[in-house]
């Protein structure tokens, strides 16, 4: 049986609390790579400090130990109210019903922000709230483990929670210095505990009558033990670091698949394939509608792909910058004052599209009226949210209309700024057909602009067909090299192929290119509000198109896909002479398509979901894991009880107070079966009461019970028995075990099946013990 630890003084409790606080706070630092800034950490530290030291204070005034965790949770709620309650709280800190509603909203927002933000995340209020709440709860758990249960070694469990999280989200995981610091804080906690425990035991003079009097030295220098602790900790941590650094990585993720990014935070998008799949789906759904001046029929960009890695186009991973708020978007790259610009408002109302990327025209000057935290990305000026999505949004985007003349484009400077260079990057080896085609088309072009116009004209030529089916049938869906090569041969595909081919050809011709994904201008309706036409955009209008860069003008869109969208004036061959207005070319119809897909850009663009089969498999896997965890939790008491029984049987076998162990097991069994076995009952009384049960009519059973009782009485109240030699000890153990099993099985047999199951799954004896450990512990000096 575990001896009751000696009561602690206030200073000792405070030392333990301080060490726990350090551990929690340093472990929280492990989340650093996931969240930008450091304000959230100070917040968490404050909450942890408030919770833990409130607990220390409560213990100092001798609050019942079972009440302390509850009150700590109360303190946590007060702190959260102070920070997040806002106007709904009384006196800043007292929560009202409104506060809890606010909390609920924050929680919902946090779920969204966790789903949507990429790392490092912006600590929006919802995220901060969840962090503070989580750390507060971890602090309370730590406090229970350290102070109430007095097993500080277990404090590693709550500390591991924030440490494990980064590993599942980002490749690098938590930073090594943080981990080492956490380990050091943990060791500090252990050291403080060892010291406090020794001090308390010395001070309390444990043991009573037979204990020795210890006359300790008056003053003992502490420095040398400090040195030993530091040295040992340093050696251990150093060894661990070296071992960790030298262990090869074995990536055998059989259970949950490769730890691919993007399980929680959306990242690494490869949306081309999904785009095609969506285009092939039936039934268009309304995505959004907007009101704009008649001349303004822009494309709406969701996402820009700028990296071409041979196999796939991808978006450069960009950190969301908390300063990039959408109330003022910057001047687009490369736009000079010579180009004519004008601003026009566009009122957008989202209908059914649900994505974290906001459909905005490029370029946009500012956006107003959004709910949630939205930020723009450098360069592409795409807008995304970290804690909400497009659902139900209604906003006004101010379009910065650029009207370049072909002359301006043609005379664009060929010297490009350094930050545009990446848009020219192409892999080393490319299929010959691409380079050949590029050189053939652009041979006659006098300027990059002419080359671009030539490429567009080539792709829009009669040779090329729009088909969403052909690439799939021929197996070259996507945007990679091989696909482009095949596309150039078969000359059939859809926007993805046209866009990526044009982008690649443009890059080959020395023009910076990127691909935008979004919506075409949509279908105007008859509705007019205040003289402004309402334009419906549905999932038919999902599109991708290349954007090419011209120094002095910036990124300008091209439309190589035949039969889709509108061809910009400047991109027509011979533009500048004709000056014809751009004519929408019936974007609502798609040749060859057997219908158009339900637009689901959320799933589209979040990417990385894998195929349907893989999803089903993962679902099974996850469900299985969750079920396993739940089953393990439910079976934990049974397992503990089983382990306890094994321990006692082993004690019987080894002769460590065997009679005591046997009797404890018997009483526990009886208590599990709700068949008595109260704390205060003596063995004799228990045996007498048990012997009166129906199951014990058998004389042999009675004898077994009496033998057990006698053994325990002799053990407990008799003189300390002498050591037996091995054989007789074994005999005695065997006899005890036999008696015990006979009596136990009689008790079990008497009980009903329901009782037996309850006794196995919810052992009352364990619960009583836990209650005792949590509730009836005496306070320091109490």
């Amino acid at each position: 049986m575990r001896p009751e630890p000696a009561p602690l003084t206030r200073a000792q409790r405070l030392a333990l609390t301080g060490a726990s606080f350090l551990l929690v706070v340093i472990a929280t630092m492990a989340l650093g790579p996931l969240i930008s800034g450091s304000g959230w950490w100070w917040l968490c530290a404050f909450v942890a400090a408030g919770t833990l030291f409130a607990g220390a204070g409560l213990r100092a005034v001798r609050t019942p130990p079972s009440l302390v965790p509850v009150l700590e949770l109360g303190v946590l709620v007060l702190l959260l109210t102070l920070f997040f309650g806002g106007a709904s709280s009384l006196l800043l800190a007292i929560p009202t019903q409104g506060t809890f509603e606010t909390f609920g909203e924050l929680l919902a927002g946090a779920r969204r922000t966790i789903e949507q933000q990429s790392v490092p995340a912006i600590p929006v209020p919802a995220l901060s709230f969840v962090l503070a709440l989580g750390i507060g709860v971890l602090a309370v758990v730590t406090d229970i483990l350290v102070q109430t249960v007095r097993m500080p070694a277990l404090a590693a469990a709550p500390a591991l929670v924030p440490i494990l999280i980064p590993g599942f989200i980002i490749e690098a995981g938590a930073e090594v210095p943080t981990l080492v610091l956490t380990a050091a804080a943990y060791l500090l906690l252990l050291r403080v505990d060892v010291r406090v425990r020794r001090r308390a035991a010395l001070a309390s003079g444990e043991g009573g009558e037979e204990a020795a009097t210890v006359i300790a030295p008056k003053r003992v220098p502490i420095v040398s033990t400090l040195g030993a602790s530091l040295g040992l900790a340093a050696v251990g941590l150093l060894t661990a670091s070296v071992l960790a650094a030298s262990t090869p990585s074995i990536s055998t993720s059989l259970l949950l698949g490769s730890p691919s990014p993007g399980n929680l935070f959306a990242r690494g998008v490869s949306p081309f394939i999904d785009l095609g799949r969506d285009l092939r789906r039936p039934e268009p759904r309304p995505a959004f509608h907007y009101f704009a001046r008649d001349g303004d029929r822009p494309y709406f960009t969701l996402l820009t792909l700028d990296r071409f890695e041979g196999e796939v186009w991808g978006a450069t991973e960009r950190v969301v910058d908390g300063d990039n708020t959408v109330d003022a978007l910057p001047q687009p790259d490369g736009l000079s004052a010579t180009v004519e610009t004008s601003e026009h408002p566009i009122d957008v109302t989202i209908d059914e599209v649900r994505t974290t990327w906001l459909p905005v025209p490029y370029p946009t000057a500012r956006i107003e009226g959004l709910q949630g935290s939205w930020f723009w990305d450098d360069g592409s000026l795409t807008v995304r949210s970290v804690d909400s999505n497009t659902g139900g949004q209604r906003y006004r985007a101010t379009l910065l209309e650029i009207d370049p003349t072909p002359g301006q484009l043609r005379s664009a400077d060929r010297d490009l700024p350094a930050d545009i260079e990446p848009y020219l990057a192409l892999p080393e080896e490319m299929p010959a057909i691409i380079t050949d085609t590029a050189s053939t088309i652009t041979a006659a072009a006098g300027s990059p602009y002419d080359a671009a116009v030539a490429i567009q004209a080539y792709l829009r030529g009669v040779d090329f067909d729009y088909s969403t089916e052909a690439p799939v049938e021929d197996g070259y869906d996507g945007g990679g090299f091989d696909v482009i090569a095949r596309f150039l041969e078969t000359k059939a595909g859809y926007c993805v192929h046209f866009a990526s081919t044009m982008a690649v050809l443009a890059r080959e011709a020395g023009i910076p290119a990127r691909i935008s994904i979004g919506y075409t201008q949509g279908t105007p309706t008859e509705d007019r509000v205040n003289g402004v036409q309402r334009v419906e955009v549905d999932s038919h209008d999902l599109h991708s198109w290349p954007e090419l860069y011209f120094e002095g003008v910036g990124w300008v869109p091209f439309e190589p896909t035949p039969g889709r969208g509108s061809v910009p004036d400047y991109s027509r061959p011979g533009a500048g002479q004709e000056q014809a207005p751009s004519v929408p070319s019936g974007g609502a119809t798609t040749p060859g398509a057997s219908g158009r897909p339900e637009l689901d850009p959320d799933r589209n663009l979040a990417g990385a979901d894998g195929g349907a089969i893989a999803t089903a498999g993962q679902l099974w896997m996850r469900t299985g894991v969750v079920a396993l965890v739940i089953a393990a939790l439910l079976l934990a008491p049974a397992f503990l009880r089983f382990a306890q029984r094994r321990t006692r049987l082993r004690r019987i076998r080894r002769g460590e107070r065997p009679a005591d162990a046997a009797w404890d097991e018997l009483v526990s069994t009886a208590r599990d079966l709700r068949a008595g076995g109260a704390d205060a009952e003596t063995p004799r009384a228990f045996a007498e009461r048990t012997a009166r049960r129906d199951a014990f009519e058998d004389a042999d059973l009675q004898m077994a019970l009496v033998r057990l009782r006698d053994a325990v009485e002799r053990d407990r109240y008799g003189p300390p028995h002498t050591e037996l030699d091995r054989d007789s000890a074994r005999e005695r153990a065997a006899a005890l075990a036999a008696d015990l099993s006979a009596v136990r099985s009689a008790l079990l047999a008497e009980a009903g099946a329901a009782d037996r199951i309850r006794a196995t799954l919810v052992p009352a004896s364990l619960i009583d013990r836990a209650r005792k450990a949590l509730g009836e512990r005496r306070l320091a000096g109490a």
């Binding site: 070694a153 440490i163 252990l190 010395l202 661990a240 055998t252 259970l255 002498t722």
Partner: protein
Amino acid sequence: MHRPRSVRVSAWPRLTRRGGMLVIVGFVLLVVSLWFDLRDILVLAFVGIAMPLAAAVFVTARAPRLAVTRAFAPAVVPAGAWTRVSVVVKNRGRRTFDGAHWRDMVPSGLTGPPEAILPAVGPYEGVLPSGDDTVRLEYRLRMPRRGVAAIGPLRIAIADPFGLARIDRDIGSAHEVIVTPRVTPLDAALGSAASIDGVVHGLQRRTHPNSDELIAREYRYGDPLRRVNWPATARRGELMVREEEQRGDPEARILLDTTLSGRPHSSALRREHDDGPNFGFELAIELAASIGMHLLDRGFRVRCTQVADPDRGVIPGAAFGGAYRMPGGERMLLEDLARVEEPGRTATPVDAETTVAEARVRAREARAPGFAALVDPGEQDVRNLVALRPSLEPAVAFAVESVSQRAVDLLEQADWRVVRVRRPADIGEAWASIAASRPSAEAARTPGRSAPIVAGEAMTDAP
């Protein structure tokens, strides 16, 4: 007699529960981190594995330099009493010694103090000692059984600063505390009057037991003739007797059955069944101690010898062939009795023939009171006693329950008075019974057998 408890002293460090759990958690984390390819957790996994191992190396490598002295107050304890053990642990190393528990190893059957915390001890102070390098530990120890108990060594369990590993080290050596047999005070005086002839009578407490007092007094009726002081008689013209004998010390003999040779297979049987003390043997020793103390108190010189070899002391190193006298004799007797080992473990064969011959020789000298404490005498033992009978008067054998009836019969035939003693509480009563029944027994016996010997002795004693 007492073996130290067979606790295996592990020279190897062990992980504490905390350390063991940490290692397990470390391995679990290692598997998890490799499985899911979480490189970051690897560090923590290795911390979990490496820290306890480093701690184990630490406790092994940092052997403390401690000096332990142990003192008992009192050092000789009657069975059932308490002694205070004080242990002084002095740090001889130049580092502070911290993080240890201590436990004094005691033989099985004793309950030593529970394992307790050894406070931190400062570094050794060569000059200007202020006592900060020593810890004093005191505890009370109850000594339930006669014998020599080896207390110690001090077992120090050293743990690392984080409580992850520990190692047990035995410091110093064991010290003996002597637990003397329990002494029952015997009140009925034996032979206090001069009614017993020979060496026994006329006892007085004197400051110098051997001083040769020659003050004569008038003859009184009943004085034995051999005490007549003839020169004084010649001078005074009337019979004068010596006040005191020249040979000062009256001698009494105690014979202790130490071999238990009556049960030839006893040793084999006993080992199998119980390891406790032989009750009868302890009772016999208690008897011998009680009688010896009583006699020494009365001024007797007590020879305490084995039944199997009446010339040999009860323990091999006994002083003066097992003879004890005041002052100091009582302590020596008790200590020697404390050291008597229960037979069965070190059975020593006895050469019977010589002892019988010697006994005959001694028989001529004087007749002393003789008391035998018998546990389980063999035939040879009984023969020895019978042979000794002529030199003893009175001859009383206290027999515990295990003495066979045959041995009792033989002794009674040889005119030993046999008194059965069943438990320690009976000792006083048994003694009182022989003292009370003495006159009648004496009266019944004297005419028959002792008279000629008395005469003979008187003649030899005459000048």
